[in-house]
Subunit: 512 residues, 2 copies
């Protein structure tokens, strides 16, 4: 409905757009985290060298499979790999050499230039949950996700101060045909938010649609990078034609890809940290090298999506120490490789946004910051092992992302921070509440949650003794009721609408 | 009731004790964490040098107050300090020089030698919550703590695999007279657990009682360190006679003390990380130096209990980024000073063991591990800013402490961990579930929670859709029902009982 209203406003022409701009709610968005703290190098250099040596052995001896992709096999052959059927064996050093043309850092442009993000180096960009077929909220419980849910998550993301990125498939809009939902998802990111977003990867043609819509939104791309999309590797060591087809489309258009092994440890990789890291590195080296064969210099991110398996139930587990160790190790390997790094997120296996969800999430968020992640997908909203996008957890996690911002700033030691005047003024037995230094600094001194409860017990009880889930439910409702669409040129909006309508009309609905 | 039964058994003599030993439940207790991971040095060396310089300036120019303690003033004068009334100004370098006799690491003996702990160096010892006047559980809600609650917490601590230490005032037994409750508390730690514990600090005479009871329990001390007790500094820069009196008793008997500024940032210290660290270091230098004036070589721990204040409500806040920064900085300062370090814990400001409690707790636990804490008091059970000891949260946190153990181990890179045989065996497109490497390693490969839910959604729903709080409530009930007292020599037990009875009879009840 909000969208409908916006369309009418958009069609009203330039005057209406300017009026909308004047009355728009000011949406605060933090700058990308600039990590002013040292890296936590959990693994020793010797261990990293072993992993790097073994990864090259894997590529050389065992190789990787590029499935149903004759053109890829030709490219590898031309590059000097040994191709046997669909198996590609890569001589020691070749993949790493090919990776050298990938940039260590790049800018992903947003339609609002203030929201453009730099990915790589000391930066940390935060993006929301990706992929859940279900949603959960306090009112409706757990249910299949719809496009309305999708739009609501995009709105929440737009209004989240600590979230830099609108993400991609924030949930699967299962009420839209499989072959058409990418159009509605992109349309939502483009119109309901002005933050950067991700493109479709589920078929090469959908990647092409994504590029075409960006051409409209940005008025031509001219090689500007405006999407970062998620290319999963089918671990172990397999690159399927669908994902590689999407990668080929994006790399050709200079659009960024996260090249990400998708690993449940013990199932898709060995049950050891170093064994898993070896496979992750081999897969990333092959995938990134391939992206550079498509277009040298195309922006890519080394990804590591790693969870372990509960050997009792077979369920994937999250926020575990082994996942943290792998997150740290992969970060060290990415820095040695000179690539931006994607890992961690609001991972948890809980069915509810309860204490389990929060422990596991906080463990993963902390590991993400300390391990030097540059792009954190799933930074908020993840529930139940990724099966569910939770509205309440989205705002709970999005609030906690403020903690990462403050931690990442590091610690100032300038004269004002030294506060010697305050210590002198107060002296033994005094208190600092009223002193000059406190008066000058208290507003910015401490990070403050916009969600969690800091009230006295009695007040909290009088107000209904609400737990975090209830507070989050209220925040979700408030944010959605206050939401206002960011201004978009009505002509652009009309062209996007027309593109989506035309592409939808051209194909019959497919539901698998 | 369990205690009554045990007493009768104890009085049955040696044969009964031996029978009890044979039928006793085997209680698993992890070894102290040996941190095989690097330190995360969040603050730069330049910043640390500024703090160290400024702390000496504070001691020299402003000084510290030793209140109502003429003997302390005499000691300081003799050591070369400038004493003016109760103000002690310490010449630059003197306090640090005096700290040199404090050991960098020491062993705290437990009555069960397997439970003795080393504190300092690369070790991390975990102890439960300390001090709450209230308890909370699912059945009874929030209420004043009693000695029965206290005993139940000691039992839970004894049965918690990842908890190395029985702690001290796990809650305040408010149903016992203030001047007598220390006797019952120590009696509970000594009889219901065989893990190391803390002594009383609320009056010097209660510290003497603690030492006397340890003489009984250990059959004489001969300078063995068997208690680690919590000496809070009355920040800013004030050392009161009660706490210093207890310190004097303990240091004289070679018992360990945590010398710990108690700081709500913005109230008892400046509203800046570096300013707070400066005051913390000045206070610790003065306190540790004073302990060494009592007895050179007495074991001490540098403490830093730091929370910030919510400048809107005035409430203390926990698990915040500033608290983590201070935890890191104080750890770096402690290492430079060569002292064991105490900080972090299951800190949170939530009223319930919900998501807020868990986010804040996990933030603090992670900061504790990465900052190099050696002794973590409050590692489990803390709720509502320390006003409440929560039974459910105790077992929730105690389970999460397993994560710290696994993370602290670091990452093995031996041949088995490299898993090259597995990667070769499985190859592209296969899976690792059945391979030899997985079969050999899966049981120990991944840390596993004993509390959190890893079940499929449908199973979880059928079983009542319980959240973490409900699961924890069940675990509390099960542990308490399975609890068995560790075996204790009946003669020792009798002597402890007699000491408590005699000391209680000697004084009238005091309730303030």
């Amino acid at each position: 409905m909000a969208e409908e209203k916006a369309r009418r406003r958009g069609r009203g022409g330039g005057g209406a757009a300017r009026r909308a701009e004047r009355t728009a709610l000011r949406i605060d968005c933090a700058k990308v985290i600039d990590r002013n703290i040292p890296d936590m190098n959990m693994l020793s250099d010797e261990t990293l060298e072993i992993i790097e040596y073994n990864a090259e052995t894997v590529l050389e001896e065992i190789g990787v499979a590029f499935v149903e992709n004759p053109a890829a096999l030709e490219r590898w052959k031309a590059a000097g790999a040994d191709v046997d059927g669909e198996r590609v064996r890569i001589p020691r050093g070749l993949a790493r050499k090919l990776c050298e043309t990938a940039p260590s850092s790049f800018v992903q442009h947003a339609r609002n230039p203030e929201r453009s993000v730099e990915i790589g180096g000391r930066k940390l960009v935060l993006a929301p949950v990706y992929g859940p077929p279900f949603v959960r909220d306090l009112q409706g419980g757990r249910r299949y996700a719809t496009i309305e849910d999708f739009r609501n998550f995009v709105k929440l993301g737009y209004m989240s101060k600590w979230l830099h990125h609108s993400g991609g498939t924030v949930c699967e809009p299962t009420d839209i045909a499989v072959n058409k939902r990418h159009l509605d998802m992109l349309h939502a990111h483009m119109t309901l938010s002005d933050k950067p977003f991700m493109g479709s990867v589920t078929e090469p043609v959908r990647a092409s649609d994504s590029v075409a819509m960006c051409e409209i939104l940005f008025g031509g791309l001219n090689d500007r990078t405006v999407m970062t999309s998620l290319i999963n590797i089918n671990s172990p060591l397999t690159f399927d034609a669908t994902m590689m087809g999407a990668l080929e489309v994006y790399a050709t258009a200079n659009q960024a890809c996260i090249i990400s092994p998708f690993i449940v440890g013990g199932a898709m990789a060995p049950v050891s940290v170093v064994g898993t890291l070896t496979q992750v590195l081999a897969e990333v080296l092959a995938g990134v090298a391939y992206s550079q064969l498509i277009r040298a210099g195309a922006p890519v991110i080394m990804g590591a999506f790693v969870t372990s398996i509960d050997m009792n139930s077979g369920a994937p587990t999250f926020g575990t120490p082994e996942a943290a160790q792998i997150t740290h190790g992969a970060g060290q390997l990415a820095r040695r490789l000179g690539l931006p790094y994607r890992s961690a997120g609001s991972f948890n296996g809980s069915k509810l946004p309860d204490a389990q969800a929060a422990y596991e999430t906080a463990n993963s968020l902390n590991a993400g910051l300390y391990s030097g992640v540059n792009f954190m997908l799933h930074a908020c909203g993840w529930l139940e092992g990724g099966l569910v996008a939770s509205f309440e957890k989205f705002v709970m996690d999005a609030d906690q992302l403020g903690v990462l911002h403050r931690l990442g700033e590091g610690v100032s030691a300038d004269a004002e921070a030294q506060a010697m005047d305050a210590i002198r003024e107060v002296g033994p037995g005094g208190h600092y509440l009223g002193c000059g230094h406190t008066q000058r600094n208290f507003k910015e001194a401490f990070w403050r949650s916009e969600l969690l409860d800091y009230k006295p017990y009695e007040t909290w009880e009088e107000e209904g003794a609400r737990d975090t889930m209830a507070l989050a439910g209220e925040r979700v409702a408030r944010l959605l009721s206050e939401y206002q669409e960011p201004v978009l040129d009505p002509a652009v909006r009309e062209e996007l609408d027309a593109f989506v309508a035309q592409r939808k009309a051209a194909e019959a609905d497919a539901f698998v």
